[in-house]
C-alpha cells in the first residue's frame, strides 16, 4: 500500500508538470558505469569501469510545444501547414532544447565494499530556445490582442563546456548510502538571454506599440581564432552533485539527488547586445494623414529607417558574467519484483535560466544473466505522453556495449506498422539517445550496496558469491532466510 501511494504521488507530480528533459530510462540501468551520473550515491553493478573517448555519446531533443503533426496536416494528398492548429497546441512558452554530450574519460572503482569512486571527463552542449505562444499566435492576427499586450520575448541559452569530476559514493549502513561529486568546469562558448521583454501592445483604436528590452550576453562566439584550450582558460566554474539512497524496506529503495549545482563564470571574449525600451519602441498609429496629404514621398522610407535605427541592438564588449548550470533533481523509487527484475519510477526536475520543469519515467528493468541488461520505460515529458523508451546493454566483460533512449521503442513500431518512420518523427516531442562502449570488470550478483553487503555477508557465512545464479541463492531466498532467522 505504501508503495502504491508513493508511486501515485510521483506519477501525479510528474503528470502535472511534465516538461523536463528526462532521461529516465538510463537512470535505472545499473549495469552501466554511467549509472552514477544522475545520482552520485548510486553503486553500479560492475566493480570497475573504464571509459575512453566515446564511451558515451548522447544527444537529445525536447520540444514541449508541438509535434510536426500539430503544425501540419494532410489534405487531399498535400501537406499543409496549419498554423491555427499549431497555435492551439502550444503552451504559453515553447521550449525547444537540444543537448549533446561526449564522454572523454571515465573511471569507476568500488574501492571498498561500501565505497565507489568515479572520475569522469565529459564535454557537454546545451541549447535551448524559447518561443512565447504570443509570438506564434500573432500569425493568426492581432485582433485577439486588442486592448491587450502580446509578450513575444524569445529566449535562448547555449553553452558548451568541459566538465571534469570526481565523485564518491559511500554506504555507511545497510539502508543508507550517500554520495557527492565535485566538478571543475571550463566553459567554451556561451550565449545567454539576460533579459528579454519584447511586447506588442494593441490599443482599442488598433494603434500598435512595439517595445523591446533585451540583453544578450555571449562568450567565445566573437572570435576567429582557432580553437585553443588556453583561449578559454578564464571561463571557469565549479559544480557539485549530491545524492542519497535509502532502502525503506527490503525490496524498495528510494533515492534522491541534485546534479549540477554550480555555475560558470564567463570572462573570455564576452560581448553584450542590448536593446533599451527607452529607445527601442515605436507606436504605429497608421499613416500620418498630414504627411500623406503633403505628398511626402520620403515618408515611408524615413519611417522605416527610423524604426530600424530604434531597434538596432547595441553591441558592447561585455564584462564577466556567470551562468548557472542546468541543475537537475531526481527522486526515485525502485521495487525489486523478482531477482534481477525490478520496476521503478523517477521524478525528474530541472531548473535552468528561469525555467523549472519536471517529468517522470516508469521503467521495468531486467538482467538476463550477466550478459544482457534491458530496460523498457514509459516517460511523460515536455507535455508528451507517447514516449516508450528502451535500454540495452551487452555485458561482454570486459567490453560493454549499450544503447538507451526514452523514446526509442516507437521507432521500430512505426517502421513495422507504416514501413516508414514518419509517424514516429511526426509525433515526437521527446527523443534522446545514449550509446557507447565501456570496459567493465567485476559483475556484482546484486545491485548496488545491497549486493555488496550481501555478498560480503554471505562470504562471512560461507555462502559463495558469483555470477552463476544456479549455484547461489536468489535474493528472495536470502530474504526468506533472514525472515526465518
Amino acid at each position: 500500500m505504501r508503495v502504491r501511494a508513493i508511486l501515485t504521488i510521483l506519477f501525479v507530480a510528474g503528470c502535472s508538470t511534465a516538461f523536463a528533459q528526462v532521461e529516465g530510462t538510463q537512470y535505472f540501468m545499473n549495469s552501466l558505469p554511467q549509472y552514477v551520473s544522475n545520482n552520485p550515491a548510486f553503486f553500479p553493478r560492475y566493480k570497475f569501469a573504464l571509459g575512453l573517448p566515446g564511451s558515451m555519446v548522447g544527444v537529445s531533443y525536447y520540444n514541449n510545444g508541438f509535434t510536426y503533426n500539430d503544425a501540419t496536416r494532410r489534405e487531399n494528398g498535400k501537406r499543409i501547414a496549419t498554423l491555427d492548429r499549431l497555435i492551439g497546441a502550444l503552451p504559453a512558452k515553447t521550449y525547444i532544447t537540444g543537448t549533446a554530450q561526449v564522454d572523454l574519460f571515465r573511471f569507476g572503482l568500488r574501492i571498498t565494499p561500501k565505497a565507489y569512486l568515479s572520475i569522469n571527463s565529459t564535454v557537454k552542449n546545451y541549447n535551448r530556445g524559447m518561443i512565447p505562444k504570443d509570438a506564434v499566435a500573432l500569425l493568426r492576427g492581432n485582433m485577439e490582442y486588442v486592448g491587450k499586450t502580446a509578450h513575444v520575448s524569445p529566449g535562448g541559452e547555449m553553452m558548451v563546456y568541459w566538465e571534469n569530476s570526481i565523485g564518491l559514493a559511500v554506504s555507511p549502513t545497510d539502508e543508507l548510502s550517500f554520495g557527492a561529486r565535485v566538478k571543475l568546469v571550463r566553459g567554451f562558448w556561451n550565449a545567454t538571454t539576460g533579459s528579454s521583454d519584447l511586447s506588442i501592445a494593441v490599443a482599442e483604436n488598433y494603434n500598435t506599440t512595439f517595445a523591446a528590452d533585451l540583453a544578450v550576453k555571449t562568450s567565445g562566439l566573437q572570435t576567429e581564432d582557432d580553437f585553443k584550450l588556453s583561449n578559454f582558460s578564464s571561463n571557469n566554474g565549479v559544480a557539485f552533485d549530491l545524492g542519497a539512497t535509502y532502502t525503506l524496506f527490503d525490496k524498495l529503495t528510494l533515492a534522491a539527488s541534485l546534479v549540477d549545482i554550480g555555475a560558470i563564470k564567463w570572462k573570455a571574449n564576452t560581448y553584450q547586445y542590448t536593446l533599451d525600451k527607452a529607445t527601442a519602441n515605436y507606436t504605429f498609429s497608421g499613416v500620418d494623414i498630414n504627411r500623406f496629404l503633403d505628398g511626402d514621398e520620403g515618408y515611408f522610407e524615413a519611417l522605416s529607417d527610423s524604426i530600424g535605427e530604434n531597434f538596432k541592438p547595441r553591441e558592447d564588449a561585455g564584462k564577466a558574467y556567470s551562468t548557472m548550470l542546468p541543475t537537475k533533481m531526481f527522486a526515485s523509487a525502485q521495487y525489486e519484483v523478482l531477482k534481477n527484475f525490478n520496476v521503478g519510477t523517477v521524478f525528474f526536475a530541472e531548473s535552468f535560466a528561469g525555467r523549472f520543469s519536471s517529468g517522470m519515467t516508469l521503467a521495468a528493468n531486467k538482467h538476463f544473466g550477466r550478459f544482457l541488461s534491458t530496460s523498457v520505460s514509459y516517460s511523460i515529458s515536455n507535455r508528451s505522453f507517447n514516449n516508450l523508451g528502451a535500454g540495452l546493454s551487452l555485458n561482454l566483460a570486459p567490453i560493454q556495449i549499450y544503447v538507451v533512449g526514452d523514446n526509442l521503442l516507437r521507432l521500430p513500431i512505426s517502421l513495422a506498422a507504416n514501413k516508414n518512420v514518419n509517424e514516429f518523427l511526426n509525433s515526437t516531442q521527446v527523443f534522446n539517445l545514449r550509446f557507447g562502449v565501456n570496459f567493465v570488470w567485476g559483475w556484482m550478483q546484486e545491485s548496488g550496496k545491497k549486493a555488496e553487503d550481501k555478498s560480503y555477508n554471505a562470504k562471512k557465512k560461507g555462502v559463495k558469491t558469483g555470477s552463476d545464479t544456479k549455484k547461489h541463492p536468489s535474493p528472495e531466498h536470502i530474504n526468506v532466510r533472514k525472515k526465518k532467522r
Binding site: 498535400k78 499543409i80 492576427g141 497608421g286 499613416v287 517502421l415 516508414n420 514518419n422 518523427l425
Partner: protein
C-alpha cells in the same frame, strides 16, 4: 569493438533515414486565417491641410481667429506712358557764300550765323520739358563744291538743351561727321519747339583763300533715339486700352462648389487703382464680371460708377490711389466664381486743351483687385473629392473574407455630411461603393452658437462593416474616389444659419481596419 558499434549505429541511422518518406516534409502550402486589426491613418486636419498648396496661401486669419480667403491681383499697365515718344527730327541748314577772297588771318573769324526755331512736331502733346536718358544729335557738314579750299568749322548752340550735371547749355563746334550725346540733357521747349543757332567759322590761315561764287557749307542734323525720363507739358486728350486680365479664384475652383448653394456673411471685393501719371485719367471698365464654368457671368457693379475719374499726382515720382468698391459683393461671392475678368480703357485729359501734365518713363497705372471672403456663412451641396489609384492585380480576391472600418472622427468644423468611397474602373466609371447608403453619414458637424462659433465638436465613433460584395469590388477597381457631400451645420431648429470657420478648428481622424484574411500560400 567500438568501430563495430559505431558502424552498427551508423547503419541503423542510415536505415532510419532511408525509411523516411521525404515527401512528408515538403510543405505544399500554408493555410492561415488571420484577423488583423491595423491603424490606417491618424492626424488632425485644419483648413490649411485640407486645401491644396496653391490655395492655402490665400487663407488668412483675422485677429479674432476667423479665417478668410484673400485674393489679390495686380495689373500694371504702361498704356498711358506708351502713348508718348519723342520723334526723330532731321534739320538741314546751309551757309551760302558769294565769290570772295579771304585774306590771310592769324585768328579764327566768326562769319555768318543762322538762327532757327526747331519743332519736334508732336500732336496733340505740347511738351514744355523733356528729361532725356538716351539719344543724341548726329551731324554732317559738307563743303560745296568739295574742291574748295575753305578751312571752316560750325559752332552749334542750343540754349534750351542744358546738361543736368553741369547746368550748361549745349554748345559745340563741329566739322565733318559726328554725334553729340544728349543723354545727360534736359530740354526746355515751348510747345515742342526750341531755338537752334549755327555760326560759320573761318579757321586761321597765313594765305589768301579764294571762295568761288555759290560755295556753301551745309549742315545736316538728326535728333534721334531720344528717350526720356519724364516729359512735361500738356499731353493731349487721348485714350489707351489696357490688356484684358483674369483673376483666378482657386478656392472656388473645381467641383467643390459646382452644385453648391452658398451664402457668405461679409465678403468684400474692391479695386484699387494706383496712378503714377501726372495727368487726369478716367478709367473705363469695358468689362468687369465674375465667371464660372457652366454658368452665365454676372456683372461686377462698381462705385463710383463707370468711368471712374482717377486721382493723379502733381509731383514727379508720386503715386495717387483711387479705391473703387464693388456694390454687388454678396451676389458676386454667393455665385462662387472661379475667376474675375476685367478689361479697361484709360482716357487722359478728357475734354481738356491745356494743362500741366507729366509722365515718367516709369509711370504705371496699376489696378489691384482685392477679394476678401470671410469664412462665415452657410452652404449646402459642397462636394469634396479626391481620387487615388488602386492596384490589386496581384492579389486574390478571396484573401479578405470580411472587414470592418473603425472610425473615430472629432469634427470641430461646422460641416456635416456624408462620406463615400466610389470604386471605379480604369475609365473612372463607377463599379461600386465601399459603403452602403446608411453607412455614409460619418461626418457629424459641430454645433454652433448664435455667433456661428463652435459649441461642441461633432463626433463619430463606430465601426462600419463592409459587405463582401463591396470588398470584392476593391480588387476589381483601378481608382477610388473619396467624396464628401457637405453642408454647414444647422441651428437647433434644423435650418441654415451662418457659421464661422476659425483657424484653430480641426478634424481629428483615427481610422483602422479589421480584416479577416484567408491565406492559402502555396
Amino acid at each position: 569493438m567500438r568501430s563495430w558499434l559505431y558502424s552498427c549505429l551508423t547503419g541503423f541511422t542510415l536505415l532510419c533515414i532511408s525509411c523516411i518518406d521525404q515527401s512528408d516534409y515538403e510543405l505544399d502550402g500554408i493555410s492561415l486565417n488571420p484577423t488583423l486589426a491595423l491603424p490606417l491613418v491618424h492626424g488632425e486636419l485644419t483648413i490649411a491641410d485640407l486645401l491644396r498648396d496653391k490655395d492655402s496661401t490665400h487663407f488668412r486669419t483675422y485677429d479674432d481667429g476667423l479665417l478668410y480667403i484673400y485674393y489679390e491681383d495686380q495689373f500694371s499697365s504702361q498704356g498711358i506712358r506708351d502713348l508718348f515718344s519723342i520723334p526723330n527730327l532731321n534739320i538741314n541748314r546751309s551757309f551760302v557764300m558769294p565769290g570772295i577772297t579771304v585774306p590771310a588771318h592769324s585768328k579764327d573769324i566768326r562769319s555768318d550765323s543762322i538762327n532757327s526755331v526747331v519743332d519736334f512736331g508732336m500732336s496733340p502733346e505740347k511738351l514744355s520739358e523733356v528729361d532725356l536718358n538716351a539719344g543724341g544729335i548726329t551731324y554732317t557738314t559738307t563743303l560745296t563744291p568739295s574742291s574748295s579750299r575753305l578751312d571752316y568749322e560750325v559752332a552749334v548752340s542750343i540754349p534750351a538743351f542744358k546738361n543736368r550735371t553741369t547746368g550748361k547749355s549745349l554748345a559745340a563746334t563741329i566739322r565733318g561727321n559726328g554725334t553729340i550725346d544728349l543723354s545727360e540733357y534736359r530740354l526746355s521747349l515751348t510747345d515742342n519747339k526750341f531755338d537752334l543757332k549755327l555760326v560759320l567759322i573761318f579757321k586761321k590761315t597765313n594765305s589768301n583763300t579764294v571762295i568761288a561764287p555759290a560755295t556753301s557749307v551745309n549742315v545736316a542734323f538728326n535728333f534721334g533715339g531720344l528717350k526720356f525720363n519724364y516729359i512735361k507739358g500738356f499731353l493731349g486728350d487721348q485714350t489707351t486700352s489696357l490688356d484684358a486680365q483674369t483673376l483666378d479664384l482657386g478656392a472656388f475652383d473645381g467641383d467643390i462648389f459646382k452644385d453648391a448653394a452658398i451664402s457668405l456673411a461679409q465678403p468684400k471685393v474692391s479695386i484699387t487703382v494706383f496712378n503714377g501719371n501726372g495727368l487726369p485719367v478716367d478709367a473705363n471698365f469695358v468689362k468687369l464680371e465674375a465667371r464660372k464654368p457652366g454658368a452665365d457671368p454676372i456683372l461686377v457693379v462698381v462705385n463710383p460708377a463707370n468711368p471712374v475719374g482717377l486721382a493723379y499726382p502733381t509731383e514727379l515720382g508720386k503715386v495717387k490711389e483711387t479705391t473703387i468698391s464693388v456694390v454687388n459683393v454678396k451676389q458676386l461671392i454667393d455665385y462662387a466664381p472661379t475667376e474675375i475678368y476685367y478689361q479697361a480703357d484709360a482716357r487722359i485729359n478728357k475734354g481738356l486743351t491745356s494743362g500741366n501734365n507729366f509722365v515718367l518713363d516709369s509711370s504705371r497705372l496699376k489696378l489691384k483687385l482685392n477679394v476678401e471672403v470671410p469664412l462665415w456663412g452657410s452652404a449646402t451641396g459642397v462636394v469634396l473629392k479626391d481620387t487615388l489609384d488602386l492596384n490589386f492585380d496581384n492579389t486574390e480576391t478571396s484573401e479578405i473574407t470580411s472587414a470592418s472600418l473603425k472610425l473615430k472622427l472629432i469634427n470641430q468644423f461646422p460641416l456635416d455630411g456624408n462620406l463615400q468611397f466610389i470604386l471605379t474602373d480604369q475609365n473612372f466609371q463607377p463599379i461600386g461603393t465601399l459603403l452602403n447608403a446608411e453607412q455614409t453619414h460619418v461626418i457629424q458637424g459641430s454645433t454652433v452658437d448664435s455667433d456661428g462659433e463652435m459649441q461642441s465638436a461633432g463626433t463619430f465613433n463606430g465601426s462600419i462593416d463592409l459587405d463582401k460584395e463591396n470588398l470584392d469590388n476593391i480588387f476589381k477597381a483601378k481608382h477610388i474616389i473619396i467624396a464628401a457631400a457637405l453642408q454647414t451645420s444647422r441651428n437647433a431648429a434644423g435650418s441654415a444659419t451662418d457659421v464661422k470657420f476659425l483657424a484653430d478648428y480641426f478634424l481629428s481622424i483615427e481610422a483602422g481596419i479589421v480584416a479577416n484574411l484567408k491565406l492559402n500560400i502555396e
